[in-house]
């Protein structure tokens, strides 16, 4: 596809379950970003990949959150033992490089609801 895709678009889960969110960046984009957005709030940075490595994991809110990227392409964000406060829209973005002058292209997001 031409843009960033994310799956699933919506996920409803029960508290305590693990969830896995997927992001497919634009082909050729080396930088990939995960953000979280709660209702009516701005974007909270979670983690950023340059290729397969994650130079900055400082935004991950707890050790229940992890992410990986393989083959310099698809990335998965895993949340273990989900809590109600994890409910949010999780947005993925990619850019040509991890440079500040590169615009980021966003996917449509995954809306996570933890019951």
């Amino acid at each position: 596809g031409a843009g960033v895709s994310q799956s699933p678009s919506n996920k409803v889960t029960e508290k305590g379950k693990d969830v896995e969110l997927r992001c497919d960046p634009i082909s050729g984009h080396t930088a990939l970003y995960w953000y979280r957005q709660s209702l009516g709030q701005g974007l909270e940075f979670l983690i950023y990949f340059q290729g397969n490595s994650a130079p900055d994991k400082s935004g991950l809110p707890s050790d229940r959150f992890s992410a990986e990227r393989t083959g310099g392409s698809v990335s998965t964000l895993t949340i273990q033992r989900t809590q109600q406060e994890d409910s949010a829209v999780y947005l993925c973005a990619s850019s040509l490089q991890g440079a500040s002058y590169n615009e980021q292209f966003f996917g449509p997001g995954t809306r996570l609801t933890v019951l």
Partner: protein
């Protein structure tokens, strides 16, 4: 803490009027970007202004940057109902590794353009 803070939080205008949104930030930057978000989903890049630029235009958009005041403004002229969205400024900052840049987003301004 948020690097960029938009002001106002919400703005309601009539179609045809101009809309001005402001962004203030705290630390020095290389670039500042503005994004638009419709319906709580993915963001779309609007414009980038570099720290050595003072003003930039793109269609009905005009962005100014005052690095001495650490502020930027986004002006949308002759607004349309389709401009209704949330608008975010994003500033660059070195990641925790100190070698790459990441974007930090503000909480956004919700613009409503009434037909």
């Amino acid at each position: 803490s948020q690097q960029g803070e938009e002001d106002p939080q919400a703005l309601s205008i009539q179609e045809g009027e101009n809309a001005t949104m402001n962004c203030s930030y705290k630390t020095s930057i290389n670039n500042l970007q503005w994004y638009r978000q419709n319906s709580g989903r993915g963001l779309v890049h609007l414009i980038l202004i570099r720290s050595n630029e003072r003003e930039k235009h793109s269609g009905r958009l005009r962005v100014t940057l005052d690095t001495s005041k650490k502020s930027s403004s986004l002006l949308i002229t002759a607004s349309r109902a389709a401009d209704t969205a949330s608008y975010f400024c994003a500033t660059d900052a070195l990641d925790s590794g100190g070698s790459n840049y990441k974007l930090t987003f503000g909480k956004g301004t919700l613009l409503t353009v009434n037909p």
